[in-house]
């Protein structure tokens, strides 16, 4: 299994449940960064991080503009902002127009992450009920990254993973637990 430096995850409807289950697979310490777009109401003021109760001391928080991205941390795109990755591996935020009716948009995060991390990136699309992420996952794949989609047959809301599968080839179609194991393997030092 190849080692990645960063994992980007996109999800909307059903996302909180799916992420809770998935992130529980992360070991106490891991060597990559996890960056998540979860579609939420623009007015939620970033409280989605409070839904997750994690063991990491390092943190689970809303990404700040110009914040350096550290390994072993889990970041969320703040509500009502797009989250992008700069080539010096810091975050940038933007209030540009919505993409796929969404801000934050999974496509925007995945595309900019692919430009920076190339083959050191894994992109994962989970449950959801729109098509955001389908384009972005293809960009991840084009830049040599690993493209993973939750099996629509096992997703709470299959539209989003299905849209990603329709957009082009991916590397894996897996259940949440299988994706969790992939994360756990991707994070161990040998």
């Amino acid at each position: 299994m190849k080692r990645f430096k960063a994992v980007v995850i996109g999800t909307s409807a059903g996302g909180i449940g799916a992420l809770s289950r998935l992130l529980a697979y992360l070991p106490d310490a891991f060597s990559f960064s996890v960056i998540i777009v979860l579609h939420v109401s623009p007015e939620s003021r970033g409280r989605q991080v409070e839904y997750f109760d994690f063991k990491f001391d390092c943190s689970l928080h809303n990404a700040e503009d110009k914040e350096p991205i550290r390994p072993g941390c889990v970041y969320f795109a703040p509500p009502n902002y797009h989250l992008l990755i700069e080539s010096d591996t810091t975050f940038s935020l933007s209030v540009d127009e919505k993409v796929q009716y969404s801000r934050p948009s999974i496509d925007v995060l995945f595309e900019s992450a692919a430009h920076v991390w190339g083959h050191d990136l894994a992109g994962i699309v989970l449950t959801g009920s729109n098509a955001d992420g389908a384009y972005g996952l293809q960009v991840v794949k084009e830049h040599g990254g690993l493209a993973v989609v939750e099996d629509p047959a096992k997703s709470e809301f299959p539209t989003m993973p299905q849209a990603s599968l329709s957009a082009g080839e991916v590397d894996y179609i897996l259940s949440l637990d299988q994706i969790g194991k992939l994360l756990a393997e991707g994070g161990t030092h040998e």
Binding site: N62, E64, D65, K66, E67, P78, Y81, H82, L84, I85, E86, S87, T90, S92, L93, S94, V95, D96, E97, V108, E111, S112, H115, G118, H143
Partner: protein, 274 residues
Amino acid sequence: MNPSRIEDLEIDLLFEAIFKRYGHDFRDYGRASIKRRVMHFLAQSGYKKVSEMIPRLLHEKAFFESMIRTFSISVTEMFRDPHVYQHIRTQVIPVLKTYPFIRAWNAGCATGEEAYSLAILLKEEGMLERTRLFATDFNDELIEKAKEGIYQSKKVKEFASNYQKTGGMNSFSEYYNAQDEAIAIDPSLKKNITFANHNLVTDNVFSEMHLILCRNVLIYFNKSLQDRVLKLFSESLVPKGYLCLGTRESIQFSNVRGNFKTFDNGRRIYQKER
């Protein structure tokens, strides 16, 4: 060199060309966002590569202007983040009232929504007559739109709902005149506003300010340009003057953070140390 790196190099050359030909400096913009806009413009232009646009850009000003338009698309609304405006109303303006006269600056005003929002607060708190509000942007087209103060009717519901959440004392409809598909901001709000061209990247301090509102502008700049702009703000403010940034912007990664104390962290309002 991989294609992504070559693309970055092309964008470097594009910005160099724009700077040398037209004086607009995008070189220190946050690359990830501006790259999206360049690629967006490229897709519309019919060219295949970024570098192919450079010759036309150099020789045809209209082409440059249409690119600038793409670069400065802004998405804003009146009273965006109402809790911030509510805090300005209840915590900042009462202090500003102790001055006989104040100057406020809305830097990066785009189409003017924030400037008018602030004007409404100041009016309701009885301060507008004692205020000179500067609303500036680097894009002349946007400044013209801001001066007009005409917005789509479909946005009114959101504006009005935001306004109520700031603790608004009136009906929001008192502040505009309805036209067909649009609303026009009431002229009484414009009297104390000066709309002007100012470029945060290249221009300097132009007056002494008691309040600076610059929201969701710094996120488009890289760290060194953010430092420049925050230094400019620091030099523009009177001692104890207020700086209000976007709710996800902060001075914590900047060199000038020592010049400010945090007035309200959640709302990203800072106060200049004396």
